[in-house]
């Protein structure tokens, strides 16, 4: 490791590190625009110039200069300061200096560096260049006149998102950033372009002119729009979430988040349930009522159903552990074994933890050298995770094969076909060459998607995948590559808590059927909307009751008899388990609207109305109970590897019926994203439905 001194501080930097990185080790920040930790080095902004001895008597770009033994670096000498002053002056030659109307104002690298190295007045008297703005879709505003040509956005598209959509065209002072085709960028990571842009050239379109960064209250939280559990920051002002940004978390999302996770937020204001609603009698219209009245109607209607009504609970994809704990205890109090957190019918096995976790861990994918996707489309199900796989493939470090729908994952994939039974058998028998690739890999990974599990023979697929993992050595000493890719943030928590049918209990699909046929009296939906609710809507023969607890008036609320307003995840401090098994907690950023309460409180009120008050006086009581049910749930932020060995899934034949995508529409997967206009605009821009509009669409 070369030893050098930077501003007189001795530093030992790893071989191949750059001077800029070595300076960071020493705690010295060198200003930069084009250098970005996660992108390749361009060396074109010249802001990071430093004085180096020995060397030619001119400043050197520290971002592209490897460290050498005995080097003496001066980051703040007369020469370095003069060089940076010159660089800033040149950058400002064509920069419009329209900070007062620029959304980047207050969090702009160019502004900050100008304060340090800029002159008060400009010597430039000529006309400034101006460039036309380009249409990059509904998420990004462009003001290319502000561009300083750092090419971070170009490199992000090429190296992280995997879609080479942007380029820097022209030369000299006519350089500009341009997409090959105007319109929407074909990536689920487009929002991150705004973060990598150091100036106000690319800005957050839905956030445009809404707020200044210093007016926002920042709340560190966890994203639950997919199952990765990415670290995010919620920026809010006067009880409105205005923006969501990724937080640095190398183990999970590095510093990226998907577009749905960033831009669903206007859905938090639409279609909200801010008051209870109830149908006084069967078939009556939903009427807005007070909490007391709603619970009274609930009690009366349940009493009318007889002495011991049969109750079932279906939890949705975004149900937090506190709510599930309360609901589980409610079921126990009622003596009901009918509960399920798998509304989509995924045949996940809650008995073996290793059978439903992403055991390889997200960070572990950085070592993966052979990846088999079974019924999974990571690009749609977890775009940030897909970016990690893309990076491995791009560097030639991993080979990927897939059983499932052939879609564009941004990297080459060996297609094993979409006849699951046959393809799995071929791998098991070793007749397909990819079996050998997996077997000989150092860190093989099998990713099982929900598309493979949410079908009749899902348990058999799970069993076949486990069998394959054992046979090909995917699970070995110090490495477990068997990984289930989840799409629902509440799923792993639900399975950890055992929120699945008890002995002789009904699963989600059976509960819906039973309510129609008369063997179930009360069905409680905890934000469950992603299943076919028509069976509930058409139950015309009986007085059976549907209670919906959730934040949005979506499919579930529409068919319910009692609707109780809950909180969206930005409005509660709640516990979730990511698909890796990491127990994490969101923090409340804003308050829930109107009479809405935290969902576990709503469950507790229902319990009291049914005559089974739960012994919880605060959320701490619920959390204590949660940890009593499963001690793992009491250990926040840590990853506990799940032991491998016990069998899971059920033996059986895997049919030839093709897998179907688990996430057919990336932008709309939950009640919140369905309520978002921004997400709707993305769907429209991507599908190009504008041409097919009829007169009634507006």
């Amino acid at each position: 490791m070369p030893k050098l001194t930077i501003d007189g501080i001795p530093v030992e930097a790893p071989e191949g590190a750059t001077v800029l990185q070595a300076a960071e080790l020493a705690g010295i920040e060198i200003p930069r625009f084009c250098y970005h930790e996660r992108l390749s080095i361009a060396g074109n902004c010249r802001m990071c110039l430093v004085e180096v001895k020995p060397g030619p008597p001119k400043p050197a770009a520290s971002c592209a200069l490897p460290v050498c033994e005995g080097m003496e670096v001066f980051t703040n000498s007369e020469m370095a300061r003069a060089a940076r002053k010159g660089t800033i002056e040149f950058m400002l030659v064509n920069h419009p200096l329209d900070c007062p109307i620029c959304d980047q104002g207050g969090e702009c690298d160019l502004q900050d560096e100008t304060v340090l190295y800029g002159e008060a007045a400009s010597r430039f008297r000529e006309d400034k260049h101006a460039f036309a703005d380009k249409d990059l879709g509904p998420l990004i505003n462009t003001r290319f006149t502000r561009c300083i040509h750092c090419t971070r956005c170009v490199r992000f598209c090429d190296e992280i998102a995997g879609v080479p959509a942007l380029g820097m065209i022209g030369r000299g002072s006519s350089c500009e950033i341009m997409p090959w085709e105007e319109g929407v960028l074909q990536t689920e990571l487009a929002g991150n372009l705004v973060d990598v842009c150091p100036v106000g050239s690319l800005t957050n379109r839905p956030f445009a002119f809404r707020a200044r960064s210093w007016e926002l209250t920042k709340t560190d939280s966890i994203d639950i729009m997919d199952a990765m559990g990415s670290s995010v920051r919620i920026d809010s002002r006067s009880n409105e979430v205005l923006r969501i940004l990724p937080r640095l978390n190398d183990a999970v999302n590095e510093e990226w988040i998907g577009d749905r996770s960033r831009h669903f937020i206007d859905g938090l204001l639409e279609r909200r349930l801010d008051t209870p609603w109830a149908r006084v009698t069967r078939g009556a219209a939903l009427r807005s009522v007070s909490w007391e009245k709603a619970l009274e109607i609930l009690r009366e209607r349940v009493e009318a159903l007889g002495d011991a009504p049969k109750v079932g609970v279906i939890a949705g994809d975004q149900t937090d552990l506190e709510t599930l704990t309360a609901a589980k205890d409610l079921c126990a109090a009622l003596g009901s074994p009918n509960m399920d957190c798998r509304q989509d019918g995924a045949r996940l096995d809650a008995s073996v933890r290793a059978g439903y976790l992403f055991n390889a861990t997200i960070e572990g994918l950085d070592q993966a050298d052979a990846i088999l996707l079974i019924g999974s489309d990571p690009r749609k199900e977890a775009p940030v995770l897909n970016a990690r796989i893309f990076r491995r493939v791009r560097n030639g470090q991993a080979a990927v094969a897939r059983i499932g729908v052939p879609t564009d994952l941004t990297y080459p994939v060996t297609e094993l076909g979409n006849t699951p039974g046959e393809a799995l058998a071929a791998l098991r028998a070793g007749t397909h060459p990819f079996a050998e690739v997996l077997r000989s890999a150092k860190h093989p990974v099998i990713i099982v998607g929900q598309g493979a599990l949410r079908r009749e023979d899902g348990a058999a697929v799970l069993n076949a995948a486990r069998d394959l993992a054992d046979a090909l050595g995917v699970v070995r000493e110090g490495w477990n590559g068997f990984s289930v890719l989840h799409t629902a943030a509440g799923r792993v928590g639900g399975l950890d808590l055992g929120f699945v049918p008890g002995k002789d209990g009904l699963d989600a699909g059976a509960m819906v059927q039973a309510l129609g046929s008369g063997s179930l009296d009360v069905l409680i939906l905890l934000g469950a909307d992603e299943f076919d609710t028509s069976a509930l809507a058409n139950r015309s023969t009986r007085d059976a009751l549907v209670v919906y607890i959730g934040s949005h008036g979506d499919a579930g609320a529409a068919v319910a008899d009692i609707v109780l307003p809950g909180s969206a995840w930005t409005e509660k401090t709640a516990t979730w388990v990511s698909m890796e098994g990491r127990v994490q907690r969101t923090l409340r950023a804003v308050s829930a609207p109107g009479a809405a309460v935290e969902d576990w409180v709503a469950v507790a009120r229902v319990a009291r109305a049914l005559g089974h008050a739960l012994p919880f006086s605060s959320v701490e009581d619920v959390r204590a109970r949660m940890a009593a049910i499963n001690p793992l749930l009491g250990t926040l932020w840590t990853l506990t590897p799940a032991p491998w060995g016990a069998p899971f899934g059920t033996e059986g034949a895997v049919s030839a019926e093709p897998f179907t995508p688990a996430v057919p529409n990336y932008y709309m997967t939950c009640p919140i994203s369905r309520a978002s206009r921004t997400m709707a605009a993305c769907v429209e821009a991507l599908s190009g439905t504008e041409d097919e509009r009829t007169g009634t669409d507006g």
């Binding site: 080479p164 942007l166 065209i169 341009m178 997409p179 090959w180």
Partner: protein, 200 residues
């Protein structure tokens, strides 16, 4: 903003002729396997020689052959001023206006083009015979000012000999390539000053 044309509606997209397809294959064969990207420039040149300019459709054809994203080809094609993005005249004047040519009178060359053809840089004559463009340094500074027409350089230009050159081209007469003042190579215009007494 640099305008790059997409093919007009109704026109067939660019495709290499059979001869040029063979040529393209031989160009690609010049580079080691896995380095097909390097063929982007010669292939763009080939496309321009076939079509007279490179539009988006031609860039897509080159992108397909080299395995590069079309945007990478657009970057290359707009970086070099020798690539044109719209049809030009039969005699396309690329006038160097960089410092040496400018100091030696490139303004006079442009004035001659304006007077004789009525064209400013970027213009094209109605009959399609002439077009004019400013260009970056042609590397012919020793014989400045210089102009490139097609594949040929015309040097040591003045107002008068530029007018004469245009007239000859218009009439289809033979023109002298290189220096228009009869200078051999880049020899001193004032005659030999060093070793003047020695027999050559």
């Amino acid at each position: 903003m640099i305008e790059t044309n997409t093919a007009a509606a109704g026109t067939a997209p660019f495709a290499f002729t059979p001869e040029n397809q063979a040529e393209a294959r031989s160009i690609l064969a010049r580079y080691p396997k896995g380095r097909e990207h390097s063929a982007a420039l010669p292939l763009l040149d080939l496309a321009q020689r076939q079509q007279g300019y490179v539009d988006r459709s031609a860039m897509e054809a080159v992108a397909g052959l080299t395995g590069l994203a079309p945007i990478r080809i657009l970057e290359v094609a707009t970086f070099y001023t020798m690539f044109r993005h719209a049809p030009v005249g039969e005699h396309h004047f690329e006038v160097c206006t960089n410092i040496s040519c400018w100091l030696r009178g490139s303004d006079e060359v442009l004035r001659a083009l304006r007077d004789e053809l009525g064209l400013d840089p970027g213009g094209k004559s109605d009959d399609g015979k002439f077009s004019v463009q400013e260009c970056e340094c042609l590397g012919a500074c020793v014989n400045a000012p210089a102009v490139r027409v097609g594949d040929h350089y015309f040097e040591d230009l003045t107002y008068d000999n530029t007018v004469a050159l245009i007239r000859k081209l218009r009439a289809g007469e033979k023109v002298v390539l290189g220096s228009q003042t009869g200078r051999v190579g880049s020899a001193n215009a004032a005659g030999a000053t060093a070793l003047a007494g020695r027999a050559s």
